[in-house]
């Protein structure tokens, strides 16, 4: 399309994106509200952030969530990249249909079903619920997101690049690490960030699969929200939004750096 943006289209974009962003912006703005009443503006203040720092429960939960998000992000990325290679490279093997069904289904599976089923598995296996079961649960759906992201990149990947590396003396593993991985790195990083943030956000599945003593940040936020809207929640929310924003920007910069000279991949 040629880019004939008319006034009507501009208006639609403005309204559409306003719908997406105004609610988030309000949370961020009101986190700096000095007033204890959520709807009354009492001037700028950072007092609720200060209050957060004294809230050991929230800090513990945040630390747990970050640990789980990071580790499950790493595991998801490794497993998901493997699965993406299988999806894009193996052609039609026996069980391909089952395999790709297993990749796609968790993306839409209602969270209550996934949470309940994982919990019942952990109970049946007699596993203590807590950090490790959280990690397993988050890795399971995280890996599917990574697979989708990396597979999309691998689908457009020129296989003769790998063959050239093999032809020039690289082993299969050498070709993967020297040629394939650096080229798909931006999507691997994007996959990691996606798995990380989804783990950080997850409330429903975590509620099912965690145990006493391992309360994640979303669970903490949820129980506070149930008690009523408070400026403190605005502050936590703003910090989470900020963390994710910083991560995404960092990820963008990182993949830029990997890509080096620019968008050469598509052309090669």
């Amino acid at each position: 399309m040629t880019g004939t943006l008319r006034k009507r289209d501009v208006a639609i974009l403005l309204i559409g994106f306003a719908f997406l962003y105004v609610p988030i912006a309000l949370v961020v703005i009101y986190s700096f509200n000095a007033s204890k009443l959520v709807t009354v503006w009492g001037g700028w203040s950072t007092r609720w952030y200060g209050a957060l720092l004294d809230n050991a429960q929230v800090l513990d939960a945040a630390w747990l969530s970050l640990k789980v998000a990071f580790l499950s992000g790493v595991f998801s990325t490794i497993l998901g990249t493997m699965a993406a290679i299988v999806m894009s490279r193996y052609g039609r093997f026996r069980g391909r249909l089952v395999f790709s069904s297993l990749i796609y289904a968790p993306l839409v599976m209602p969270e209550v079903i996934m949470g309940l089923s994982l919990l019942l598995l952990f109970v049946a296996l007699d596993m203590d619920r807590g950090f490790w079961t959280l990690l397993i649960a988050h890795t399971t759906f995280g890996l599917c997101f990574v697979t989708i992201v990396v597979n999309a990149k691998l689908a457009g990947f020129d296989r003769s690049l790998e063959e050239a590396a093999r032809d020039l003396g690289a082993s299969p593993i050498g070709a993967f690490f020297q040629v394939t991985l650096p080229i798909i790195a931006p999507s691997v990083i994007a996959g990691f960030l996606l798995a990380f943030t989804i783990s950080l956000d997850d409330f429903v599945i975590a509620s099912f699969t965690t145990g006493p003593g391992a309360t994640t940040l979303p669970m903490r936020i949820y129980s506070q929200v149930r008690l009523g809207v408070t400026p403190e929640i605005n502050a936590i929310s703003t910090l989470m939004i900020g963390t994710v924003l910083a991560l995404v920007l960092f990820g963008f910069a990182l993949s830029r750096a990997f890509r080096g000279g620019g968008g050469a991949v598509g052309r090669a």
Binding site: S160, E163, A164, D167, G169, S171, Q178, I183, G261, A268
Partner: protein
């Protein structure tokens, strides 16, 4: 031919129900410039990939430099390949691309740098070592791909449609450069191409492939002048093909255009054959031709001016259709126009008899 470098013996390769390579046997000599020529889907690329090690033959053997390549992965073969897409690593500089194979071989950094500098000089890209592939022109990328492929001094260099991505002017220039390079390096080259001009210009020997099999193997002159099959005759250059039948031992009768000619060797009566005559071997005149040859007459259907040559299509009075061409030499026949009545003549020795 010098001593054999590559010996392909009875190699077949199937993909599902399709047979890509069908019982092919072939020898390539050390230092030879060899071409695999054929239309797309004829199996030439698969044959090359079998030699490179990217595919495994279903049967038969490939021996390179006296060693059976069965089970030898691509990275351990004394063969390198220049890919059709060039397959330059987009995340590496030109120098890193060229040095990639040397690094895999465990060569030291300083040695690699020296060798890469030599290669850059050889392909005249001295100043571009630090560029990324996407900052190069098509011709420059082709040179980088070439330099990278010869960096490891392979015994055999495989070139997959090496000139296909270049525009016409550059293609001819590069063609001569490749030939020069091949003579200097004394490496055997195996080129895969669908372009007959490319194969004929560069290669000492050409294997014409069709449906997984080699139809004919020989020098450029041989496959053009004495094609073994109607396929080769039609694939290489333009040709007129007439259906004919052997009569009374020594004579062939052709129906359209109607003429008879003598057989050089006796054949069984009733054998159906194809007669092939190159368009440039047929003379086109306004007046009666000289005797002792096969003479026909007809009307010009089309007259095409191509600059260096002129091409006519002539419908003979008995319903045959012939293609005739002549060098644009400025003599009287050059201006024969559509609709004119003309005479055609060719010698019996210009007829090639092919199995039908």
């Amino acid at each position: 031919m010098q001593q054999s470098l590559v010996r392909i013996d009875g190699v077949s390769k199937h993909f599902g129900d399709t047979t890509a390579v069908d019982n092919v046997s072939l020898d390539i000599g050390a230092g030879e410039f060899f071409a695999l020529l054929g239309p797309s889907g004829c199996g030439k690329t698969t044959l090359m990939r079998l030699v490179a090690g990217f595919e495994t033959p279903d049967s038969g053997s490939i021996v390179i430099d006296g060693i059976d390549m069965a089970g030898v992965p691509p990275n351990r073969r004394p063969v390198n390949m220049m890919f059709q897409s060039y397959a330059l690593f987009p995340h590496m500089s030109v120098a890193a691309n060229i040095g990639f194979g040397l690094k895999q071989a465990g060569m030291g950094k300083a040695d690699i740098a020296a060798r890469v500098a030599d290669l850059l000089k050889l392909v005249q890209l001295e100043k571009l070592g630090q560029r990324k592939p996407d900052q190069l022109s098509g011709g420059q990328r082709q040179r980088v791909a070439l330099a990278r492929a010869i960096a490891r001094r392979p015994k055999l260099l495989l070139l997959d449609e090496p000139l296909a991505a270049l525009d016409r002017k550059l293609r001819e220039e590069t063609q001569f450069e490749l030939m020069q390079l091949q003579r200097d390096l004394k490496i055997a080259f195996m080129v895969v191409t669908h372009d007959q001009d490319e194969a004929m210009a560069m290669a000492q020997r050409i294997a014409v492939m069709r449906a997984g099999q080699i139809e004919q193997l020989g020098g450029a002159r041989e496959i053009y002048e004495t094609p073994a099959t109607t396929f080769v005759a039609q694939f290489i250059g333009e040709i007129n093909l007439f259906a004919a039948t052997v009569e009374r031992g020594q004579v062939m009768r052709c129906a359209a255009p109607a003429f008879t000619c003598r057989l050089p060797e006796p054949m069984a009566e009733g054998t159906a054959v194809s007669l092939a005559v190159r368009p440039e071997r047929i003379r086109l005149t306004r007046g009666e031709p000289q005797g002792g040859e096969i003479a026909l007459s007809g009307q010009v259907m089309d007259s095409v001016y191509l600059g260096d040559v002129k091409v006519w299509r002539v419908r003979t009075d008995d319903g045959g259709l012939l293609r005739v061409s002549a060098v644009n030499s400025g003599n009287g026949t050059d201006d024969i126009q559509r609709g004119e009545r003309v005479h055609l003549a060719f010698a019996e020795s210009d007829i090639r008899i092919l199995p039908r």
